[in-house]
């Protein structure tokens, strides 16, 4: 027997949370798998996966899964490219300015994404804000709406704060003496960035990448509404309310895709850590 048993009071305090986790977090995930593998007759069946991977539809759906990955990766990469310099800028600002900038980053996160997407539609439309401005100064109108670029723009708009905040948090705590030491030892600005700031910001980058990639790969509505691009999230959203089991099968595939990506990212993170030691 374990001698250091949990004190009764502590166990009692933890009971509600444990119960809640089991009922509302673990059980639902198991139920997704249960519904995905349950046929119309209520018995175990592969019918939904046979439906998805039926030769007639296979190509469409496989391409859609691939697109989800591709768009998710692109949105994440662009968010990272945009966020990193901004986080650096924020961390370099005065303390009082930093607080204001943080607030300015967080405020758009509370904007309802349906309404924001609708506003973006107007900005990008043929007769929208940008094109009217272009036409006003005599330039030709651009076809921006209903392009893959518009879909990615919408995704980046909605998720980039989740990249900025973790990177900024790490950079703000970065030990300035390390930067000074590198400068004293003759490192150029570029070398300081590449060999000190970037490696030390990696934990923030990693959590930013995860926090943007997960919602990007499972996105719906934004991509469809702005880019006319349909991804796995759209199919789930359309189907699950009426065809629960098929929706569950699609969700299971989405979960699997995310899980695999997380494992790959984790491996990459580990290798990154190894690189520091050398």
């Amino acid at each position: 027997m374990n001698k250091r048993k949990l004190p009764f009071g502590t166990a009692l305090l933890n009971a509600p949370f444990t119960l809640w986790t089991v009922i509302f977090i673990l059980a639902p995930l198991v139920l997704v798998a249960y519904f995905a593998f349950t046929g119309n007759d209520g018995r175990f069946s592969l019918q939904w996966f046979e439906y998805i991977f039926d030769p007639a539809r296979r190509e469409t759906y496989l391409r859609m899964f691939g697109d989800s990955l591709l768009y998710g990766a692109l949105a994440t990469g662009i968010s990272l490219l945009l966020a990193f310099p901004l986080a650096h800028f924020m961390a370099q600002s005065k303390q009082s300015v930093q607080r204001v900038l943080m607030l300015l980053i967080m405020v758009p996160m509370w904007m309802n994404f349906l309404i924001a997407t609708n506003a973006w539609r107007y900005i990008l439309e043929h007769n929208g804000l940008i094109n009217n401005l272009l036409a006003g100064i005599g330039l030709p109108r651009l076809g921006m709406i209903n392009t893959p670029g518009a879909a990615i723009l919408g995704m980046v708009y909605n998720f980039v704060p989740f990249m900025i905040l973790p990177i900024y948090t790490v950079m703000a705590r970065l030990n300035v003496q390390l930067v000074e030491a590198a400068q004293d030892l003759g490192a150029s600005r570029w070398e300081v960035l590449r060999r000190v700031i970037v490696p030390l910001s990696m934990p923030g980058v990693m959590s930013g990448v995860i926090m943007v990639f997960v919602p990007s790969v499972s996105v719906f509505f934004i991509n469809d509404r702005l880019g006319g691009v349909r991804l796995i999230g759209d199919v789930i959203n359309d189907r699950v309310l009426n065809e629960t089991n098929l929706g569950a099968a699609f969700s299971l595939i989405l979960m699997l895709i995310i899980l695999v990506c997380m494992l790959v990212l984790n491996r990459m993170g580990d290798r990154e850590k190894g690189a520091f030691v050398n």
Partner: protein, 272 residues
């Protein structure tokens, strides 16, 4: 190191903020449109704001539902989450604590759509057990929102608990406080800022949530669900007006809590 930002990086930051605030500016401007669309500005008017408070009963009902849901979610989640944080804080063994924190991370890491759907499956399954076909409604969306917000409460209360000296509560007990009283008199005041910010986060998360509500609310209509119903046809400026109002409210709330935090930080600096 001297803190400095060149002109180039300042311009860059300006562009990013322009990108972040452009749609918001569009929303605010078109909320004052006298016309019926959100893409053709006719003239400045308060028409849609007036309508919102007078004859737009659907939007009013949706707003009321949303506020009731957000408030219930915030109160219940903060109670449950604080209790859970206190419990996790008392776990003396690293292993059990890691399991608890790992479980806490699941909702944070899983995409909203998967969370929404898995909760929906739970409610359908639970309904089938009790031979109920239509279970989705206020109570299910409330349960779903609580589950979604719980990790954030734990993550903002637990660090505050870790910062407080456990000997203080023990001292109170030595001086004759009961364990419960020691918690309320000593521990609770020292984690109150964490609880307050948890309340704010939970309230706003619930207020703004669309994805999880979509799959768990059934016929219960929250504001984001109401907007979603409209967006497929044509969004009228009244939704922009409502969004603007909520936006201003949120901004003031966030600004207020930020100022309070800044003041608290200053006071702490003075003390040490």
């Amino acid at each position: 190191m001297k803190k400095k930002n060149g002109i180039l990086s300042t311009v860059y930051a300006g562009l990013i903020f322009l990108f972040l605030y452009l749609p918001i500016a569009v929303i605010v401007v078109f909320s004052f449109n006298s016309g019926r669309t959100t893409s053709n500005f006719e003239s400045f008017s308060f028409y849609w704001y007036m309508r919102l408070f007078t004859t737009n009963f659907e939007a009013q009902a949706a707003l009321r539902n949303t506020l009731i849901l957000a408030l219930s979610t915030a109160v219940i989640t903060v109670l449950l989450g604080t209790l859970a944080a206190v419990g996790i804080d008392r776990l003396r063994r690293k292993f059990t604590e890691r399991i608890a924190l790992g479980a806490n991370n699941i909702p944070l890491m899983s995409p909203e759509i998967v969370m929404g759907i898995s909760m929906m499956m739970l409610f359908i399954f639970g309904g089938a057990l009790f031979n109920q076909q239509f279970v989705l409604g206020f109570s299910t969306v409330l349960l779903a929102h609580i589950t979604m917000c719980l990790p954030y409460v734990i993550l903002s209360v637990l660090p505050k608990l870790r910062q407080t000296d456990p000997h203080l509560a023990e001292a109170a007990q030595d001086l004759g406080c009961s364990q419960v009283m020691a918690f309320f008199r000593v521990t609770l005041p020292s984690i109150s800022t964490g609880i307050a910010s948890a309340f704010l986060i939970t309230f706003t998360l619930s207020l703004d949530n669309f994805v999880i509500s979509r799959f768990t609310a059934g016929p219960f209509t929250t504001l984001p669900l109401h907007i979603f119903g409209q967006i497929r046809m044509l969004v009228r400026p009244d939704m922009y007006a409502l969004t603007t109002l909520i936006f201003v409210m949120m901004f003031l709330l966030l600004l207020g809590s930020n100022l309070l935090q800044a003041r608290a930080a200053k006071r702490q600096n003075k003390q040490t």
